[in-house]
Symmetry: C2
Subunit: 453 residues, 2 copies
């Protein structure tokens, strides 16, 4: 046993007790009654960072909840690592389903149960402990370190992008590390190297200046619902491909290695079909395998559509307006604003005669990708190998975490998502927990990563 792992192991109980302190603070960011708890959690983190030897510890208040910054910058020629995490948590409802109270951490079966145990107090804490360990053993760090820990992740990080753009110099770094994701399976680490981006828009379609009676006008005037159907039916072709001109132009196709990786991971389509009650998985582009479609291909989904009468019974109305809401999942190197523009153009150009359409552009979020063969991803992989004895799985997630690409774009630094959670740890649900087998191993993996820089 190395000196490092011996140290981590001998401090295990103390470290877990400290995490419990943090987990006892009910820092629910979405509920105003917890505003003080949020401040308390922020102070706890800031004090802990000071205690372990971090410098320039600052709590920046925002119009929402505070962001904590700290650094240690004494390795002049070494790279700088920025750690992002969050100290806020999800609400606890439904409270009745918790076996032990969500803010009274309890250890059972080598798991620590509490709201925030894995998302993300537990995982953020591993970084604090890694830095503490290295400083205690060596009195210095192998790299420069900055922490940026926020309290609004669970409500969409409304103030973080501004903070990033206001503090580009202070936050400048060579790599951003985030532990807010999960491993592939027990004992099998994973690096999430790609997330899909997002763009959203909605439109209204109008015909006459009022709803009309189908007895008096039926058969003679346009029905907004009919025109909506006509227009929406142009958005996909018969193979499920998005039928908007230039939509796929900038899509970065998967490399052969990535395709093999996805294939090798396997995917139990039968199990999924059964659990969703579906007879087939034929959504989207029919000429791609399911696992690629949900992770590596862009989509256009009609999330909502409505027009006319929705009540009980019948109403012989010819509606004069109809509506649709659309979001796209995007992949590198698609630009969300460009895609919004293409769809807007498509809708305007394909609007049937006899109606006017009004398109409203909504949210955007960039897709994120750090190439598997990039040095930072490979260093993270080697760190996992050293501690877990296994190469990590390289994962693409189909969802979007806009702050990941915000960091990427604001700081021009690659982002590495090193997850230590397990997929069944009930995040956002009752009985959230963190498997303690990944507690010491997580600290050690982060130490290795920093040493490999």
């Amino acid at each position: 046993m190395s000196q490092l792992s011996e140290f981590v192991s001998s401090n295990h109980d103390r470290n877990v007790e400290e995490l419990k302190e943090l987990l006892r603070i009910p820092s629910v960011s979405s509920l105003s009654e917890h505003k003080e708890d949020i401040q308390k959690a922020a102070s706890w983190i800031a004090n802990k960072l000071k205690t372990i030897g971090m410098e320039h510890v600052e709590i920046t208040q925002t119009n929402g909840h505070p962001i904590i910054y700290a650094d240690w910058l004494h390795q002049e020629n070494a790279p700088t690592v920025l750690v992002y995490g969050h100290y806020d948590v999800q609400p606890v409802d439904p409270i009745d389903l918790w076996e032990t109270p969500p803010f009274e951490p309890d250890i059972r079966d080598e798991k620590i149960f509490a709201r925030g145990a894995t998302d993300d107090k537990g995982q953020t804490f591993l970084h604090i402990k890694a830095v503490e360990t290295l400083l205690k053993l060596e009195n210095k760090l192998p790299v420069n370190i900055k922490f940026c820990i926020e309290g609004e992740e669970e409500i969409g990080s409304p103030h973080l992008p501004q903070f990033l753009s206001d503090n580009k110099e202070k936050l400048a770094c060579d790599v951003v590390v985030i532990s807010d994701s999960d491993m592939w399976d027990r004992g099998v680490p994973a690096i999430t190297y790609s997330l899909r981006g997002l763009c959203a828009l909605e439109f209204s379609l109008k015909t006459a200046n009022t709803d009309l009676h189908s007895g008096m006008f039926g058969g003679g005037v346009q029905n907004a619902n009919h025109l909506l159907v006509q227009l929406l039916s142009t958005l996909h072709d018969e193979n499920g491909k998005v039928n908007v001109a230039q939509f796929y132009d900038d899509v970065l196709e998967l490399t052969e290695f990535e395709k093999e990786q996805i294939k090798a991971l396997g995917f139990d389509e039968e199990k999924l079909k059964k659990s969703l009650g579906l007879s087939d998985l034929t959504g989207g582009e029919n000429d791609f395998p399911y696992s690629e479609k949900i992770s590596s291909r862009p989509t256009l989904e009609i999330n909502g559509l409505w027009g006319g009468f929705q009540g009980e019974g019948t109403k012989t109305v010819i509606p004069n307006e109809a509506h649709a809401k659309i979001t796209c999942r995007l992949v590198n190197n698609q630009n969300p604003e460009k895609i919004q523009g293409l769809i807007k153009k498509h809708i305007e150009e394909h609007a049937p005669e006899g109606c006017t359409v009004k398109v409203t552009l909504q949210d955007t979020g960039n897709p994120f990708l750090t190439p598997i063969d990039s040095p930072m991803i490979q260093k993270a992989a080697r760190a996992y190998e050293q501690v877990y004895g296994k190469s990590p799985v390289y994962k693409r997630e189909g969802g979007s975490i806009p702050i990941v690409s915000d960091f990427n774009q604001a700081l021009h630094a690659p982002v590495v998502l090193m997850g230590f959670g397990l997929p069944d740890e009930n995040l956002h649900a009752p009985n959230e927990h963190f498997n303690l087998e990944n507690f010491d191993k997580g600290i050690l993996t982060i130490c290795s990563f920093l040493e490999l820089m």
Copy 2:
């Protein structure tokens, strides 16, 4: 001036005073607080029928409001005429817009203003007065007469069909006459000889057993909204024709005379476009003129459609269900139940793979047509000619009045719709009125009609 018109003219003031009595009773059928008023109006009608010499006057209570029956059956070899009308009225809101109170009849500019003045107390009263006039002058009628006057027309006549089918023998007749429609214009009488029928249905389309997250599943599973659009887009072809197999099979095409009649009446399409704010009138079947499309052609309208998220902002949901409501306007000789079946079959057969659809059949109402050249229509036409000095316009209405075909089908007798209202008499609106120029003329026209039998 004939003896008849002299008599009607000399009784004008008394007749109008009597109508005012009826108009003072606020017999609003949709409001429970007027339940007693409804009974009062029914008694008033029944008493009036007795007073003028009608026999077997009966008030039949229903689970709703009562139906009045009366007859005079002393012309053994003459035909029997059944008069239908209603003594209930619409609510008066918005009350502020009435120039004089709705239940205090007021005469201005030779018009009588009150709720029910034209719809339908005023027009029903003309028949009572015609019978009274003939009986007073001749001590007998040229035909047998039956009255059937209900109090639930404004709430959809829920109890009338049962009453008709329970009393087929009692109500047996050679013709049903209804005055609850309007003339073409001042001085230009009209006979409405056709109404469209109706059928309604709705369906739900389901995919997975729950809504799904577009980040985790987007591009891999079917979106119920997409499948709804796909399915609904099969219901019409590119020329606006209904694309359901056999839909048009039983449509009785217009005769050349009817087409000429419609054309001769003319229609100001520019004026309509302007009032509706439309750039064109391209709804429905593009190869038919507007006036034919809205009166003589069947339609299929999507009155409502909805699926997924309709709130503010965005929601990255893949909805697992979507819905649509459909009604058709039907023409002779389409059968509403048959058409419902054809549409249900179309929906089930065109449901895309990967979803289940559930179709629910709703209301039906038969189309109505009494041919222009039928003897009863021609007798009504001659009666109008005698009094107004002008042939009536033959009108098709695009709307549906199910009770008209209910009479037609229950009693196997032709129905003649002889309107004495004018198109701008504000029925169902504030300041409803009846033009008194059609009061005496209405009585005289009905007398002529009965004499021509």
